[in-house]
Symmetry: C3
Subunit: 206 residues, 3 copies
Amino acid sequence: MSLLSFLDYASVAIFALTGALVASRAQLDIVGFAFIACLTAVGGGTLRDVMLDRNPLFWMGNPNYILIACAAALLIFFTAHLVESRYRWLLWLDSFALAVAVPAGVGAAIQMHQPALIVVLMGVVTGCMGGLMRDVVVGEVPLVLRQGELYVSAAFAGALAGVILSTLIAPGPALLACAGVTWAMRAGSLLFGWRLPVYKARPPKN
Amino acid sequence: MSLLSFLDYASVAIFALTGALVASRAQLDIVGFAFIACLTAVGGGTLRDVMLDRNPLFWMGNPNYILIACAAALLIFFTAHLVESRYRWLLWLDSFALAVAVPAGVGAAIQMHQPALIVVLMGVVTGCMGGLMRDVVVGEVPLVLRQGELYVSAAFAGALAGVILSTLIAPGPALLACAGVTWAMRAGSLLFGWRLPVYKARPPKN
Amino acid sequence: MSLLSFLDYASVAIFALTGALVASRAQLDIVGFAFIACLTAVGGGTLRDVMLDRNPLFWMGNPNYILIACAAALLIFFTAHLVESRYRWLLWLDSFALAVAVPAGVGAAIQMHQPALIVVLMGVVTGCMGGLMRDVVVGEVPLVLRQGELYVSAAFAGALAGVILSTLIAPGPALLACAGVTWAMRAGSLLFGWRLPVYKARPPKN
Protein backbone atom coordinates (compact mmCIF):
# COMPACT_ATOMS: atom_id res chain seq x y z
CA MET A 1 0.00 0.00 0.00
CA SER A 2 1.37 3.42 -0.88
CA LEU A 3 1.88 6.00 1.86
CA LEU A 4 -0.86 8.12 0.32
CA SER A 5 -3.43 5.29 0.48
CA PHE A 6 -2.37 4.59 4.02
CA LEU A 7 -2.96 8.22 4.98
CA ASP A 8 -6.35 8.16 3.26
CA TYR A 9 -7.36 4.99 5.12
CA ALA A 10 -6.09 6.23 8.46
CA SER A 11 -7.86 9.56 8.07
CA VAL A 12 -11.13 7.83 7.16
CA ALA A 13 -10.88 5.43 10.09
CA ILE A 14 -10.00 8.00 12.73
CA PHE A 15 -12.44 10.66 11.52
CA ALA A 16 -15.13 7.96 11.52
CA LEU A 17 -14.35 7.25 15.17
CA THR A 18 -14.78 10.95 15.98
CA GLY A 19 -18.04 11.07 14.03
CA ALA A 20 -19.36 8.06 15.94
CA LEU A 21 -18.33 9.65 19.24
CA VAL A 22 -20.31 12.75 18.32
CA ALA A 23 -23.24 10.48 17.39
CA SER A 24 -22.97 8.84 20.83
CA ARG A 25 -23.24 12.25 22.45
CA ALA A 26 -26.40 12.83 20.39
CA GLN A 27 -27.75 9.37 21.37
CA LEU A 28 -28.44 8.17 17.82
CA ASP A 29 -29.09 4.58 16.76
CA ILE A 30 -26.53 2.40 14.98
CA VAL A 31 -27.47 3.63 11.50
CA GLY A 32 -27.22 7.21 12.72
CA PHE A 33 -23.73 6.39 14.02
CA ALA A 34 -22.75 5.06 10.60
CA PHE A 35 -24.25 8.11 8.87
CA ILE A 36 -22.31 10.68 10.92
CA ALA A 37 -19.19 8.49 10.82
CA CYS A 38 -19.27 8.31 7.01
CA LEU A 39 -20.04 12.02 6.66
CA THR A 40 -17.08 12.94 8.85
CA ALA A 41 -14.77 10.33 7.36
CA VAL A 42 -15.21 11.19 3.69
CA GLY A 43 -16.52 14.78 3.89
CA GLY A 44 -13.21 16.61 3.66
CA GLY A 45 -11.74 14.33 1.01
CA THR A 46 -14.94 14.48 -1.04
CA LEU A 47 -14.83 18.27 -1.07
CA ARG A 48 -11.14 18.12 -2.07
CA ASP A 49 -11.92 15.70 -4.92
CA VAL A 50 -14.88 17.78 -6.14
CA MET A 51 -12.73 20.92 -6.11
CA LEU A 52 -9.89 19.18 -7.94
CA ASP A 53 -12.39 17.51 -10.29
CA ARG A 54 -11.00 14.07 -9.43
CA ASN A 55 -13.19 11.30 -10.74
CA PRO A 56 -14.37 9.05 -9.32
CA LEU A 57 -14.30 10.36 -5.75
CA PHE A 58 -11.68 8.53 -3.70
CA TRP A 59 -14.23 6.40 -1.84
CA MET A 60 -16.35 5.58 -4.88
CA GLY A 61 -13.85 3.41 -6.67
CA ASN A 62 -13.13 1.41 -3.55
CA PRO A 63 -15.77 0.17 -1.09
CA ASN A 64 -13.21 -0.31 1.69
CA TYR A 65 -13.38 3.30 2.84
CA ILE A 66 -17.09 3.11 3.58
CA LEU A 67 -16.76 -0.32 5.17
CA ILE A 68 -13.98 0.95 7.44
CA ALA A 69 -16.07 3.94 8.48
CA CYS A 70 -19.01 1.65 9.28
CA ALA A 71 -16.76 -0.67 11.30
CA ALA A 72 -15.53 2.32 13.28
CA ALA A 73 -19.14 3.34 13.95
CA LEU A 74 -19.94 -0.19 15.16
CA LEU A 75 -16.89 -0.24 17.42
CA ILE A 76 -17.84 3.03 19.09
CA PHE A 77 -21.51 2.06 19.38
CA PHE A 78 -20.56 -0.90 21.56
CA THR A 79 -17.60 0.53 23.45
CA ALA A 80 -18.09 4.27 23.97
CA HIS A 81 -19.75 3.73 27.33
CA LEU A 82 -16.52 2.14 28.60
CA VAL A 83 -14.44 5.32 28.45
CA GLU A 84 -14.42 7.89 31.17
CA SER A 85 -14.56 11.08 29.13
CA ARG A 86 -15.88 10.77 25.62
CA TYR A 87 -15.13 14.43 24.95
CA ARG A 88 -11.43 14.03 25.71
CA TRP A 89 -11.32 11.00 23.39
CA LEU A 90 -13.07 13.07 20.74
CA LEU A 91 -10.52 15.90 21.03
CA TRP A 92 -7.54 13.59 20.83
CA LEU A 93 -8.83 11.31 18.10
CA ASP A 94 -9.75 14.40 16.14
CA SER A 95 -6.17 15.67 16.49
CA PHE A 96 -4.83 12.42 15.01
CA ALA A 97 -7.43 12.49 12.23
CA LEU A 98 -6.39 16.05 11.38
CA ALA A 99 -2.74 15.05 11.38
CA VAL A 100 -3.27 12.29 8.81
CA ALA A 101 -5.92 14.05 6.71
CA VAL A 102 -3.79 17.13 6.04
CA PRO A 103 -0.94 15.16 4.41
CA ALA A 104 -3.54 13.05 2.56
CA GLY A 105 -4.87 16.25 1.00
CA VAL A 106 -1.41 17.64 0.36
CA GLY A 107 -0.26 14.39 -1.23
CA ALA A 108 -3.29 14.12 -3.51
CA ALA A 109 -2.84 17.69 -4.74
CA ILE A 110 0.91 17.23 -5.30
CA GLN A 111 0.17 14.08 -7.30
CA MET A 112 -2.05 16.21 -9.57
CA HIS A 113 0.75 18.77 -10.03
CA GLN A 114 -1.20 21.61 -8.48
CA PRO A 115 0.63 24.86 -7.64
CA ALA A 116 1.88 25.29 -4.07
CA LEU A 117 -0.94 27.55 -2.91
CA ILE A 118 -3.61 25.07 -4.02
CA VAL A 119 -1.69 22.20 -2.40
CA VAL A 120 -1.72 24.03 0.93
CA LEU A 121 -5.43 24.81 0.60
CA MET A 122 -6.28 21.21 -0.26
CA GLY A 123 -4.42 20.10 2.85
CA VAL A 124 -6.44 22.50 4.98
CA VAL A 125 -9.74 21.57 3.28
CA THR A 126 -9.16 17.83 3.61
CA GLY A 127 -8.11 18.21 7.21
CA CYS A 128 -10.71 20.62 8.48
CA MET A 129 -13.90 20.28 6.47
CA GLY A 130 -14.97 16.76 7.46
CA GLY A 131 -14.91 17.66 11.13
CA LEU A 132 -16.60 20.97 10.37
CA MET A 133 -19.48 19.19 8.60
CA ARG A 134 -19.78 16.76 11.53
CA ASP A 135 -20.08 19.60 14.04
CA VAL A 136 -22.42 21.77 11.95
CA VAL A 137 -24.80 18.89 11.25
CA VAL A 138 -25.20 17.97 14.91
CA GLY A 139 -25.38 21.62 15.93
CA GLU A 140 -22.23 21.80 18.08
CA VAL A 141 -19.71 24.65 18.02
CA PRO A 142 -17.17 23.46 15.42
CA LEU A 143 -13.83 22.34 16.92
CA VAL A 144 -12.30 24.30 14.05
CA LEU A 145 -13.54 27.52 15.61
CA ARG A 146 -12.77 26.90 19.28
CA GLN A 147 -11.42 30.14 20.52
CA GLY A 148 -7.78 30.30 21.49
CA GLU A 149 -6.80 26.90 20.06
CA LEU A 150 -4.61 26.04 17.11
CA TYR A 151 -6.65 24.07 14.61
CA VAL A 152 -6.80 25.63 11.16
CA SER A 153 -3.40 27.11 12.06
CA ALA A 154 -2.01 23.64 12.77
CA ALA A 155 -3.38 22.35 9.46
CA PHE A 156 -1.99 25.36 7.63
CA ALA A 157 1.48 25.09 9.18
CA GLY A 158 1.61 21.35 8.51
CA ALA A 159 0.51 21.77 4.90
CA LEU A 160 3.04 24.54 4.39
CA ALA A 161 5.82 22.41 5.84
CA GLY A 162 4.76 19.55 3.56
CA VAL A 163 4.82 21.71 0.43
CA ILE A 164 8.19 23.26 1.19
CA LEU A 165 9.81 19.97 2.16
CA SER A 166 8.42 18.19 -0.89
CA THR A 167 10.63 20.41 -3.05
CA LEU A 168 13.68 19.48 -0.98
CA ILE A 169 13.28 15.84 0.04
CA ALA A 170 11.39 12.75 -1.16
CA PRO A 171 7.58 12.98 -1.06
CA GLY A 172 7.22 10.26 1.58
CA PRO A 173 9.25 11.92 4.33
CA ALA A 174 7.75 15.30 3.38
CA LEU A 175 4.25 13.96 4.01
CA LEU A 176 5.35 12.41 7.29
CA ALA A 177 6.82 15.74 8.35
CA CYS A 178 3.55 17.41 7.36
CA ALA A 179 1.68 15.01 9.65
CA GLY A 180 4.19 15.57 12.43
CA VAL A 181 4.04 19.35 12.32
CA THR A 182 0.23 19.34 12.20
CA TRP A 183 -0.11 16.99 15.13
CA ALA A 184 2.60 18.62 17.23
CA MET A 185 0.93 22.02 16.93
CA ARG A 186 -2.55 20.70 17.62
CA ALA A 187 -1.39 18.57 20.54
CA GLY A 188 0.69 21.45 21.91
CA SER A 189 -2.41 23.57 21.82
CA LEU A 190 -4.46 20.96 23.69
CA LEU A 191 -1.75 20.12 26.23
CA PHE A 192 0.10 23.35 26.81
CA GLY A 193 -2.35 25.96 25.57
CA TRP A 194 -0.17 27.00 22.62
CA ARG A 195 -2.02 29.68 20.72
CA LEU A 196 -1.76 32.59 18.39
CA PRO A 197 -2.95 35.98 19.60
CA VAL A 198 -6.70 36.14 19.04
CA TYR A 199 -8.59 39.18 17.96
CA LYS A 200 -9.70 41.26 20.91
CA ALA A 201 -12.01 44.16 20.38
CA ARG A 202 -10.86 47.33 22.12
CA PRO A 203 -13.19 47.99 25.02
CA PRO A 204 -15.71 50.73 24.23
CA LYS A 205 -14.34 54.19 25.00
CA ASN A 206 -17.05 55.29 27.30
CA MET B 1 -42.85 9.71 -18.32
CA SER B 2 -40.52 7.05 -16.97
CA LEU B 3 -40.90 5.88 -13.39
CA LEU B 4 -37.54 7.45 -12.59
CA SER B 5 -38.59 10.90 -13.83
CA PHE B 6 -41.83 10.54 -11.92
CA LEU B 7 -39.92 9.80 -8.71
CA ASP B 8 -37.62 12.77 -9.35
CA TYR B 9 -40.59 15.10 -9.90
CA ALA B 10 -42.50 13.78 -6.91
CA SER B 11 -39.49 14.09 -4.65
CA VAL B 12 -38.86 17.67 -5.81
CA ALA B 13 -42.50 18.66 -5.32
CA ILE B 14 -42.92 17.13 -1.87
CA PHE B 15 -39.56 18.23 -0.52
CA ALA B 16 -40.36 21.74 -1.79
CA LEU B 17 -43.58 21.66 0.24
CA THR B 18 -41.60 20.73 3.36
CA GLY B 19 -39.07 23.48 2.66
CA ALA B 20 -41.86 26.03 2.31
CA LEU B 21 -43.43 24.81 5.55
CA VAL B 22 -40.13 25.36 7.31
CA ALA B 23 -39.96 28.82 5.71
CA SER B 24 -43.45 29.55 7.07
CA ARG B 25 -42.24 28.65 10.55
CA ALA B 26 -39.38 31.13 10.06
CA GLN B 27 -41.83 33.78 8.74
CA LEU B 28 -39.96 34.53 5.51
CA ASP B 29 -41.35 36.38 2.49
CA ILE B 30 -42.42 34.69 -0.74
CA VAL B 31 -38.93 34.74 -2.26
CA GLY B 32 -37.53 33.26 0.94
CA PHE B 33 -40.14 30.51 0.66
CA ALA B 34 -39.01 29.77 -2.90
CA PHE B 35 -35.34 29.82 -1.84
CA ILE B 36 -35.75 27.26 0.96
CA ALA B 37 -38.17 25.21 -1.16
CA CYS B 38 -35.65 24.97 -4.03
CA LEU B 39 -32.75 24.23 -1.67
CA THR B 40 -34.66 21.38 -0.06
CA ALA B 41 -36.13 20.11 -3.31
CA VAL B 42 -32.94 19.79 -5.32
CA GLY B 43 -30.29 19.66 -2.55
CA GLY B 44 -30.08 15.88 -2.16
CA GLY B 45 -30.25 15.14 -5.87
CA THR B 46 -27.66 17.82 -6.62
CA LEU B 47 -25.23 16.26 -4.17
CA ARG B 48 -25.92 12.85 -5.71
CA ASP B 49 -25.27 14.20 -9.22
CA VAL B 50 -22.08 15.99 -8.17
CA MET B 51 -20.82 12.82 -6.48
CA LEU B 52 -21.67 10.68 -9.52
CA ASP B 53 -20.28 13.39 -11.84
CA ARG B 54 -23.57 13.49 -13.75
CA ASN B 55 -23.71 16.43 -16.11
CA PRO B 56 -25.74 18.52 -16.34
CA LEU B 57 -27.35 18.32 -12.89
CA PHE B 58 -30.84 16.81 -13.12
CA TRP B 59 -32.59 20.17 -12.69
CA MET B 60 -30.33 22.12 -15.02
CA GLY B 61 -31.36 20.47 -18.24
CA ASN B 62 -35.03 20.89 -17.43
CA PRO B 63 -36.61 24.04 -15.94
CA ASN B 64 -39.70 22.15 -14.75
CA TYR B 65 -38.07 21.04 -11.50
CA ILE B 66 -37.44 24.59 -10.37
CA LEU B 67 -40.85 25.76 -11.54
CA ILE B 68 -42.53 22.94 -9.60
CA ALA B 69 -40.57 23.83 -6.47
CA CYS B 70 -41.61 27.48 -6.83
CA ALA B 71 -45.24 26.50 -7.34
CA ALA B 72 -45.09 24.43 -4.17
CA ALA B 73 -43.65 27.42 -2.31
CA LEU B 74 -46.46 29.62 -3.59
CA LEU B 75 -49.09 27.07 -2.59
CA ILE B 76 -47.78 26.86 0.96
CA PHE B 77 -47.36 30.63 1.25
CA PHE B 78 -51.08 31.10 0.70
CA THR B 79 -52.47 28.03 2.44
CA ALA B 80 -50.22 27.11 5.37
CA HIS B 81 -52.30 29.15 7.80
CA LEU B 82 -55.29 26.92 7.02
CA VAL B 83 -53.86 23.80 8.62
CA GLU B 84 -54.05 23.05 12.27
CA SER B 85 -50.52 21.79 12.93
CA ARG B 86 -47.88 22.77 10.43
CA TYR B 87 -45.32 20.64 12.22
CA ARG B 88 -47.36 17.46 11.79
CA TRP B 89 -47.79 18.27 8.09
CA LEU B 90 -44.05 18.83 7.88
CA LEU B 91 -43.28 15.45 9.45
CA TRP B 92 -45.67 13.55 7.20
CA LEU B 93 -44.84 15.35 3.98
CA ASP B 94 -41.19 14.80 4.76
CA SER B 95 -41.85 11.08 5.16
CA PHE B 96 -43.41 10.95 1.68
CA ALA B 97 -40.56 13.01 0.22
CA LEU B 98 -38.05 10.62 1.76
CA ALA B 99 -39.95 7.65 0.38
CA VAL B 100 -39.79 8.93 -3.21
CA ALA B 101 -36.32 10.48 -3.05
CA VAL B 102 -34.60 7.28 -1.91
CA PRO B 103 -35.75 5.25 -4.95
CA ALA B 104 -34.95 8.25 -7.17
CA GLY B 105 -31.36 8.10 -5.93
CA VAL B 106 -31.22 4.32 -6.16
CA GLY B 107 -32.63 4.35 -9.69
CA ALA B 108 -30.21 7.00 -10.92
CA ALA B 109 -27.22 5.10 -9.54
CA ILE B 110 -28.42 1.77 -10.98
CA GLN B 111 -28.84 3.44 -14.37
CA MET B 112 -25.16 4.46 -14.17
CA HIS B 113 -24.16 0.85 -13.36
CA GLN B 114 -22.70 1.71 -9.99
CA PRO B 115 -21.80 -1.11 -7.59
CA ALA B 116 -24.40 -2.07 -4.99
CA LEU B 117 -22.76 -0.23 -2.09
CA ILE B 118 -22.67 3.04 -4.02
CA VAL B 119 -26.29 2.55 -5.10
CA VAL B 120 -27.37 2.22 -1.48
CA LEU B 121 -25.37 5.29 -0.47
CA MET B 122 -26.82 7.36 -3.33
CA GLY B 123 -30.30 6.39 -2.14
CA VAL B 124 -29.50 7.55 1.37
CA VAL B 125 -27.81 10.76 0.16
CA THR B 126 -30.66 11.69 -2.19
CA GLY B 127 -33.23 10.95 0.49
CA CYS B 128 -31.61 12.54 3.49
CA MET B 129 -29.38 15.41 2.44
CA GLY B 130 -31.98 17.84 1.05
CA GLY B 131 -33.91 17.80 4.30
CA LEU B 132 -30.67 18.02 6.25
CA MET B 133 -29.63 21.16 4.34
CA ARG B 134 -33.09 22.66 4.94
CA ASP B 135 -32.86 22.11 8.68
CA VAL B 136 -29.23 23.22 9.05
CA VAL B 137 -29.81 26.44 7.11
CA VAL B 138 -32.75 27.52 9.24
CA GLY B 139 -31.02 26.39 12.42
CA GLU B 140 -33.45 23.65 13.48
CA VAL B 141 -32.44 20.25 14.83
CA PRO B 142 -32.32 18.10 11.67
CA LEU B 143 -35.19 15.61 11.37
CA VAL B 144 -32.50 13.16 10.28
CA LEU B 145 -31.07 13.22 13.78
CA ARG B 146 -34.20 13.12 15.88
CA GLN B 147 -33.42 10.77 18.65
CA GLY B 148 -35.22 7.44 18.73
CA GLU B 149 -36.79 7.70 15.28
CA LEU B 150 -36.09 5.74 12.14
CA TYR B 151 -34.96 8.12 9.43
CA VAL B 152 -31.55 7.29 7.99
CA SER B 153 -32.39 3.72 8.96
CA ALA B 154 -35.59 3.83 6.91
CA ALA B 155 -33.70 5.26 3.93
CA PHE B 156 -30.98 2.64 4.32
CA ALA B 157 -33.40 -0.28 4.58
CA GLY B 158 -35.42 0.96 1.60
CA ALA B 159 -32.31 1.43 -0.51
CA LEU B 160 -31.03 -2.00 0.46
CA ALA B 161 -34.36 -3.59 -0.45
CA GLY B 162 -34.29 -1.76 -3.77
CA VAL B 163 -30.79 -2.95 -4.63
CA ILE B 164 -31.45 -6.56 -3.70
CA LEU B 165 -34.81 -6.70 -5.49
CA SER B 166 -33.40 -5.05 -8.61
CA THR B 167 -31.26 -8.15 -9.14
CA LEU B 168 -34.33 -10.38 -8.85
CA ILE B 169 -37.23 -8.52 -10.43
CA ALA B 170 -37.77 -5.72 -12.96
CA PRO B 171 -36.36 -2.30 -12.01
CA GLY B 172 -39.79 -0.66 -11.81
CA PRO B 173 -41.28 -2.89 -9.11
CA ALA B 174 -37.93 -2.89 -7.29
CA LEU B 175 -38.03 0.90 -7.03
CA LEU B 176 -41.65 0.82 -5.89
CA ALA B 177 -40.73 -1.71 -3.22
CA CYS B 178 -37.85 0.55 -2.19
CA ALA B 179 -40.31 3.42 -1.77
CA GLY B 180 -42.72 1.18 0.14
CA VAL B 181 -40.13 -0.13 2.58
CA THR B 182 -38.75 3.36 3.23
CA TRP B 183 -42.15 4.87 3.87
CA ALA B 184 -43.45 1.96 5.94
CA MET B 185 -40.48 2.17 8.29
CA ARG B 186 -40.59 5.95 8.60
CA ALA B 187 -44.36 5.97 9.09
CA GLY B 188 -44.16 3.09 11.58
CA SER B 189 -41.64 5.13 13.53
CA LEU B 190 -43.90 8.20 13.55
CA LEU B 191 -47.11 6.31 14.31
CA PHE B 192 -46.05 3.42 16.50
CA GLY B 193 -42.69 4.54 17.82
CA TRP B 194 -40.75 1.84 15.92
CA ARG B 195 -37.10 2.32 16.65
CA LEU B 196 -33.71 0.73 16.85
CA PRO B 197 -31.93 0.65 20.19
CA VAL B 198 -30.16 3.98 20.62
CA TYR B 199 -26.80 4.43 22.21
CA LYS B 200 -27.09 4.91 25.94
CA ALA B 201 -24.06 5.87 27.91
CA ARG B 202 -23.61 3.79 31.02
CA PRO B 203 -24.32 5.99 34.02
CA PRO B 204 -21.13 7.14 35.75
CA LYS B 205 -19.90 4.66 38.31
CA ASN B 206 -19.81 6.97 41.24
CA MET C 1 -9.36 43.56 -16.90
CA SER C 2 -12.81 42.55 -18.11
CA LEU C 3 -15.88 43.72 -16.21
CA LEU C 4 -16.58 40.11 -15.25
CA SER C 5 -13.12 39.65 -13.67
CA PHE C 6 -13.54 42.94 -11.90
CA LEU C 7 -16.87 41.79 -10.43
CA ASP C 8 -15.31 38.50 -9.37
CA TYR C 9 -12.42 40.25 -7.65
CA ALA C 10 -14.65 42.83 -5.98
CA SER C 11 -17.03 40.15 -4.73
CA VAL C 12 -14.14 38.10 -3.32
CA ALA C 13 -12.58 41.12 -1.61
CA ILE C 14 -15.77 42.45 -0.05
CA PHE C 15 -17.14 39.07 1.01
CA ALA C 16 -13.74 38.36 2.57
CA LEU C 17 -14.06 41.54 4.62
CA THR C 18 -17.47 40.37 5.88
CA GLY C 19 -16.07 36.93 6.70
CA ALA C 20 -13.24 38.50 8.67
CA LEU C 21 -15.70 40.73 10.53
CA VAL C 22 -17.69 37.66 11.53
CA ALA C 23 -14.42 36.03 12.62
CA SER C 24 -13.68 39.09 14.76
CA ARG C 25 -17.04 38.68 16.46
CA ALA C 26 -16.08 35.05 17.19
CA GLN C 27 -12.64 36.16 18.46
CA LEU C 28 -10.60 33.82 16.26
CA ASP C 29 -6.86 34.08 15.57
CA ILE C 30 -5.39 35.38 12.32
CA VAL C 31 -5.52 32.00 10.57
CA GLY C 32 -9.14 31.61 11.62
CA PHE C 33 -9.82 35.02 10.12
CA ALA C 34 -8.26 33.91 6.83
CA PHE C 35 -10.21 30.64 6.92
CA ILE C 36 -13.63 32.27 7.33
CA ALA C 37 -12.68 35.06 4.90
CA CYS C 38 -11.74 32.55 2.18
CA LEU C 39 -14.82 30.40 2.82
CA THR C 40 -17.11 33.42 2.49
CA ALA C 41 -15.20 34.91 -0.44
CA VAL C 42 -15.13 31.89 -2.71
CA GLY C 43 -18.03 29.81 -1.31
CA GLY C 44 -20.80 31.08 -3.55
CA GLY C 45 -18.68 31.16 -6.71
CA THR C 46 -17.34 27.68 -5.99
CA LEU C 47 -20.85 26.28 -5.70
CA ARG C 48 -21.76 28.05 -8.97
CA ASP C 49 -18.73 26.60 -10.73
CA VAL C 50 -19.38 23.08 -9.41
CA MET C 51 -23.02 23.30 -10.53
CA LEU C 52 -22.04 24.59 -13.97
CA ASP C 53 -19.18 22.04 -14.13
CA ARG C 54 -16.69 24.82 -14.80
CA ASN C 55 -13.13 23.60 -14.54
CA PRO C 56 -10.93 24.65 -12.94
CA LEU C 57 -12.84 26.55 -10.25
CA PHE C 58 -12.45 30.31 -10.74
CA TRP C 59 -9.99 30.68 -7.86
CA MET C 60 -7.93 27.62 -8.71
CA GLY C 61 -6.42 28.88 -11.92
CA ASN C 62 -5.45 32.19 -10.36
CA PRO C 63 -3.89 32.59 -6.90
CA ASN C 64 -4.86 36.27 -6.68
CA TYR C 65 -8.35 35.52 -5.37
CA ILE C 66 -7.05 33.69 -2.32
CA LEU C 67 -4.33 36.27 -1.73
CA ILE C 68 -6.89 39.08 -1.87
CA ALA C 69 -9.12 37.27 0.62
CA CYS C 70 -6.17 36.78 2.98
CA ALA C 71 -5.19 40.44 2.66
CA ALA C 72 -8.75 41.40 3.56
CA ALA C 73 -8.59 39.12 6.60
CA LEU C 74 -5.32 40.75 7.68
CA LEU C 75 -6.75 44.24 7.23
CA ILE C 76 -9.76 43.47 9.42
CA PHE C 77 -7.66 41.68 12.04
CA PHE C 78 -5.70 44.85 12.67
CA THR C 79 -8.39 47.48 12.17
CA ALA C 80 -11.77 46.07 13.25
CA HIS C 81 -11.39 47.44 16.76
CA LEU C 82 -11.28 50.96 15.31
CA VAL C 83 -14.87 50.98 14.11
CA GLU C 84 -17.79 51.81 16.32
CA SER C 85 -20.26 49.14 15.26
CA ARG C 86 -18.83 46.09 13.58
CA TYR C 87 -22.31 44.73 12.97
CA ARG C 88 -23.37 47.77 10.94
CA TRP C 89 -20.17 47.48 8.88
CA LEU C 90 -20.96 43.81 8.37
CA LEU C 91 -24.48 44.57 7.13
CA TRP C 92 -23.35 47.26 4.70
CA LEU C 93 -20.26 45.49 3.39
CA ASP C 94 -22.41 42.41 2.91
CA SER C 95 -24.86 44.47 0.84
CA PHE C 96 -22.03 45.60 -1.48
CA ALA C 97 -20.68 42.07 -1.71
CA LEU C 98 -24.14 40.81 -2.66
CA ALA C 99 -24.47 43.56 -5.26
CA VAL C 100 -21.25 42.56 -7.04
CA ALA C 101 -21.54 38.79 -6.58
CA VAL C 102 -24.98 38.55 -8.20
CA PRO C 103 -23.83 40.07 -11.52
CA ALA C 104 -20.64 37.99 -11.31
CA GLY C 105 -22.81 34.86 -11.21
CA VAL C 106 -25.15 36.15 -13.89
CA GLY C 107 -22.25 37.07 -16.16
CA ALA C 108 -20.51 33.72 -15.76
CA ALA C 109 -23.71 31.82 -16.60
CA ILE C 110 -24.47 34.05 -19.62
CA GLN C 111 -20.94 33.46 -20.88
CA MET C 112 -21.69 29.72 -20.78
CA HIS C 113 -24.90 30.24 -22.77
CA GLN C 114 -27.15 28.92 -20.04
CA PRO C 115 -30.92 29.41 -20.35
CA ALA C 116 -32.43 32.42 -18.59
CA LEU C 117 -33.78 30.49 -15.57
CA ILE C 118 -30.37 28.98 -14.83
CA VAL C 119 -28.71 32.39 -15.25
CA VAL C 120 -31.02 33.86 -12.63
CA LEU C 121 -30.41 30.97 -10.26
CA MET C 122 -26.64 31.22 -10.67
CA GLY C 123 -26.87 34.90 -9.79
CA VAL C 124 -28.79 34.08 -6.63
CA VAL C 125 -26.47 31.18 -5.70
CA THR C 126 -23.29 33.21 -6.24
CA GLY C 127 -24.71 36.12 -4.29
CA CYS C 128 -26.30 34.33 -1.37
CA MET C 129 -24.48 31.08 -0.68
CA GLY C 130 -21.07 32.40 0.43
CA GLY C 131 -22.65 34.52 3.14
CA LEU C 132 -24.95 31.65 4.05
CA MET C 133 -21.97 29.33 4.55
CA ARG C 134 -20.23 31.99 6.64
CA ASP C 135 -23.21 32.36 8.95
CA VAL C 136 -24.00 28.64 9.24
CA VAL C 137 -20.40 27.74 10.08
CA VAL C 138 -20.13 30.24 12.91
CA GLY C 139 -23.64 29.40 14.13
CA GLU C 140 -25.29 32.78 13.56
CA VAL C 141 -28.76 33.29 12.08
CA PRO C 142 -28.03 33.69 8.35
CA LEU C 143 -28.44 37.25 7.05
CA VAL C 144 -30.20 35.60 4.12
CA LEU C 145 -33.04 34.60 6.41
CA ARG C 146 -33.46 37.74 8.48
CA GLN C 147 -37.16 38.21 8.78
CA GLY C 148 -38.74 41.13 7.00
CA GLU C 149 -35.67 42.13 4.96
CA LEU C 150 -35.05 41.94 1.25
CA TYR C 151 -32.05 39.71 0.65
CA VAL C 152 -32.76 36.74 -1.60
CA SER C 153 -35.44 38.97 -3.10
CA ALA C 154 -32.88 41.66 -3.90
CA ALA C 155 -30.58 39.08 -5.48
CA PHE C 156 -33.47 37.62 -7.45
CA ALA C 157 -34.70 40.99 -8.72
CA GLY C 158 -31.19 42.06 -9.68
CA ALA C 159 -30.48 38.81 -11.50
CA LEU C 160 -33.82 39.04 -13.32
CA ALA C 161 -33.06 42.61 -14.37
CA GLY C 162 -29.64 41.52 -15.58
CA VAL C 163 -31.03 38.67 -17.68
CA ILE C 164 -33.76 40.75 -19.26
CA LEU C 165 -31.47 43.71 -20.00
CA SER C 166 -28.77 41.47 -21.44
CA THR C 167 -31.15 40.63 -24.29
CA LEU C 168 -31.74 44.33 -24.95
CA ILE C 169 -28.46 46.13 -24.31
CA ALA C 170 -24.74 45.30 -24.20
CA PRO C 171 -23.66 42.82 -21.51
CA GLY C 172 -21.56 45.35 -19.61
CA PRO C 173 -24.33 47.85 -18.84
CA ALA C 174 -26.73 44.96 -18.19
CA LEU C 175 -24.42 43.62 -15.46
CA LEU C 176 -24.01 47.09 -14.00
CA ALA C 177 -27.78 47.47 -13.90
CA CYS C 178 -28.02 44.07 -12.23
CA ALA C 179 -25.60 45.28 -9.53
CA GLY C 180 -27.53 48.55 -9.17
CA VAL C 181 -30.93 46.91 -8.76
CA THR C 182 -29.59 44.38 -6.26
CA TRP C 183 -27.88 46.98 -4.13
CA ALA C 184 -30.73 49.50 -4.31
CA MET C 185 -33.21 46.92 -3.05
CA ARG C 186 -30.95 45.62 -0.30
CA ALA C 187 -29.97 49.13 0.80
CA GLY C 188 -33.58 50.28 0.67
CA SER C 189 -34.47 47.40 2.93
CA LEU C 190 -31.72 48.30 5.42
CA LEU C 191 -32.38 52.06 5.32
CA PHE C 192 -36.10 52.41 4.80
CA GLY C 193 -37.43 49.02 5.84
CA TRP C 194 -38.55 48.08 2.32
CA ARG C 195 -39.98 44.61 2.46
CA LEU C 196 -42.29 42.11 0.88
CA PRO C 197 -45.22 40.86 2.92
CA VAL C 198 -43.97 38.01 5.10
CA TYR C 199 -45.90 34.92 5.91
CA LYS C 200 -48.02 35.35 9.01
CA ALA C 201 -49.79 32.41 10.46
CA ARG C 202 -53.45 33.13 11.20
CA PRO C 203 -53.85 33.30 14.95
CA PRO C 204 -55.42 30.11 16.34
CA LYS C 205 -59.21 30.26 16.24
CA ASN C 206 -59.81 29.66 19.87
